[in-house]
């Protein structure tokens, strides 16, 4: 059993008969998960996630990643047939290649920005 998983017990106070014991699924209550959820929430609330997304998009277009991937899409479409291609097809074909094609500089810059945000805002 993972040491991070706690079996937590919650008490619901507003029930009329006093307190009710509730047992929650372990994974959701793990501290790790809570922390990640809180950090993600903070990212979204402060608008940082949007900014990071836009930054990543802009950089990927600049470095030609989008065009490369689009060309790969063309091949996939020609292979599967224009009429019958679905979103799932594209996603399964394209995503792994897309992840691999991201240039190192872009990756480094993004990691740097995420790290800076976390260090500043995540009360470590």
């Amino acid at each position: 059993m993972s040491p991070l998983v706690d079996r937590k017990v919650l008490y619901c106070e507003s029930a009329p008969s006093g307190t009710i014991k509730l047992q929650i699924v372990p994974e959701i209550m793990s501290k790790e998960y809570q922390m990640r959820a809180a950090i993600n929430q903070k990212l979204i609330e402060m608008g940082e996630r949007e900014r990071l997304k836009e930054l990543l998009r802009a950089k990927l277009v600049e470095c030609g990643w989008k065009d490369q991937l689009k060309a790969h899409c063309k091949d996939v479409i020609r292979e599967k047939g224009l009429e019958h291609v679905t979103v799932e097809d594209l996603v399964t074909e394209v995503t792994p290649k897309g992840r691999a094609l991201v240039p190192d500089s872009v990756k480094k810059e993004l990691l740097q920005r995420i790290r800076a945000f976390l260090v500043q805002h995540a009360a470590l």
Binding site: N40, L56, L69, L82, V87, L90, V91, T95, R99, K107
Partner: protein, 249 residues
């Protein structure tokens, strides 16, 4: 938000790094998904393959990469040395000078009326020094010039008193000036807007000074032919020049 257990920073940075990597992967996947949706929509709407035309068109509009030629294949300065024949005067004019030449030649365009009026004004001034009378026809063309209008008004009062026109000498003078100026119509840029006062007698000077500014410019030593209210010179200057030329009286 506080952590009771292992902190993110400090010696054990792996959790922090793992977290960062996860966030990064999420962002990249978002970007890929975005692209997939875009492409899928383009495919279904039918505009995905629109940029692929037939081979011939692609060859025709390919980017040209030769020296001496721009990316469209056009030569720079190709028309610089060509000459065109003017439909009016039948001369061969360089291409870059063709438009201004046409303006002067045809008598149309913004500058040509101004220059023609100036020419007439200078003609009138010079002929005025010769005779007291003048062709009213010339003056009637000079509507735009305030000084010329004043001249016209003055002329009419003079005309009744004076003797019959010396039209022969007037026409001869105009004709002579006319030819000399028509030989040189393209040098109007250097037109001098003034008259040199040494060539005029006292009567002409007086009549000139009553209608014109008359202040003598330092650079050209010529009298200003603008009106009495010309903004370049002050009233003091005008008074001084009158004192000088006409003597104290």
């Amino acid at each position: 938000m506080k952590m009771e257990e292992r902190p993110l920073s400090g010696p054990d940075n792996t959790r922090l790094e793992a977290l960062i990597q996860d966030i990064y992967s999420e962002l990249v996947e978002d970007a890929c998904l975005g692209l997939c949706f875009e492409v899928h929509r383009a495919v279904k709407q039918g505009y995905f393959f629109l940029d692929e035309t037939d081979q011939d068109s692609i060859k025709e509009f390919e980017i040209v990469d030769q020296p001496g030629v721009d990316i469209f294949g056009q030569v720079f300065n190709q028309w610089k040395n060509k000459e065109c024949e003017c439909p009016n005067c039948k001369r061969l004019i360089a291409a870059s000078r063709f438009a201004p030449h046409l303006e002067k030649c045809l008598g149309m365009g913004r500058n040509s009326s101004r220059i023609a009026n100036r020419r007439l004004a200078s003609n009138n001034n010079i002929s005025k020094s010769e005779s007291d009378q003048e062709d009213n026809d010339d003056l009637n063309d000079n509507d735009w010039s305030y000084g010329a209008e004043k001249k016209a008004k003055k002329r009419k009062s003079d005309k009744n008193q004076n003797s019959p026109r010396r039209s022969k000498s007037l026409k001869h003078k105009n004709g002579e000036l006319g030819t000399s100026i028509s030989l040189d119509p393209y040098k109007q840029y250097n037109y001098n807007a003034g008259i040199s006062f040494e060539s005029l007698g006292p009567n002409e000077v007086r009549s000139l000074l009553t209608t014109q500014c008359g202040v003598i410019s330092e650079h050209t030593k010529k009298m200003c032919t603008r009106s009495h209210r010309c903004p370049q010179h002050t009233d003091d200057q005008r008074r001084a020049i009158r004192l000088r030329l006409l003597g104290p009286s």
